[in-house]
Assembly symmetry: C2
Homo-oligomer: 187 residues x 2
């Protein structure tokens, strides 16, 4: 006799994302997720292989959302500003996705690739197609590193963090485009 489903994978992932942000990764337990979706912990294993896979699904859902936000960006400066804004809104999810600690499950590569579309587009326009990938990686690494460090207090005390962000954004965007400009001048 079939039993009606009392929850869903979507509800489980949503509860996990909530818990991650409110309680941190250690608070994202199977029991807490189960309670939120109105079920006992063992029932989660009908929809999810285990906690590690659930964390991975949270990371992937986060990447999809990041990709959506970046799609709307108009240029590279706007893109990194949106990227940073997401980090401030959802610090735990941002860290999970961009800089998972040692031993933390990560998203499958396809999901990382989804976010690189808009970055590659803007980076290519600026640096030229041959250097698009390297330019995109330079910008991404800087932005991810910067936001991750400010979220974990890596910048220590003192100084104007917003000013350092603008400084970095302007200089890096200029630097990444400098090769193409040089070549244009010569050709």
């Amino acid at each position: 006799m079939p039993t009606p489903e009392r929850t869903s994978l979507e509800a489980i992932v949503a509860a996990a994302r909530d818990l991650l942000e409110t309680e941190g990764l250690p608070g994202l337990t199977m029991q807490a997720v189960a309670e939120r979706v109105g079920v006992r912990a063992p029932s989660l294993y009908k929809r999810v292989q285990g906690r590690d896979q659930l964390v991975q699904l949270v990371a992937e859902a986060t990447l999809v959302e990041v990709a959506e936000r970046l799609e709307a960006s108009t240029d590279l400066i706007d893109l990194v500003d949106r990227f940073r804004a997401f980090g401030h809104e959802r610090p735990s999810a941002f860290q999970l996705v961009m800089t998972p600690g040692p031993g933390v499950p990560t998203a499958r590569p396809e999901f990382g690739a989804a976010t690189s579309g808009p970055i590659l587009r803007h980076a290519g326009a600026l640096a030229g197609e041959p250097e698009a990938l390297e330019a995109a990686r330079t910008v991404t690494a800087w932005a991810a590193g910067f936001v991750s460090m400010e979220l974990t207090g890596g910048f220590g005390l003192g100084g104007d963090v917003d000013a350092a962000w603008r400084f970095g954004a302007e200089r890096i965007v200029a630097a990444v485009g400098s090769g193409a400009q040089g070549r244009d001048l010569v050709s």
Copy 2:
């Protein structure tokens, strides 16, 4: 009647650092550490407040070591190369220190400050003192982000990661120094 000490804080931290690298952060358990130093888990609480503090001590010891390595650097390119080399040698410790995941204990600020000495020195020489801090943060953010992403597979598949590193290092060092150069030309 006093009992002879059967272990020490140094031995505990050393065992924890070993475990972090060989087993990952989840494998860094109080029981595993206790076994390595030849003691039962409860005895660890004579020297350490708890697992979180032990992880913090590991992070701080790692930062001291990173600072030592960076001290030897001759210029900014050399410095970031040493920084990256450390990440490749000790990936888990590197991630713990530079990009701890959400909920992972972090080092006290003094220890982060220790590593910024050599960075500030080289960045100041390049960008000028007024912009030294912003230049240092730009370089640090890029390097930390880059190495963290390559360690966690964040760059997806394909492409020449070493080439992207050299591209970024050269462009960023140039970009960070561009303001001072410009001012020199005008003055």
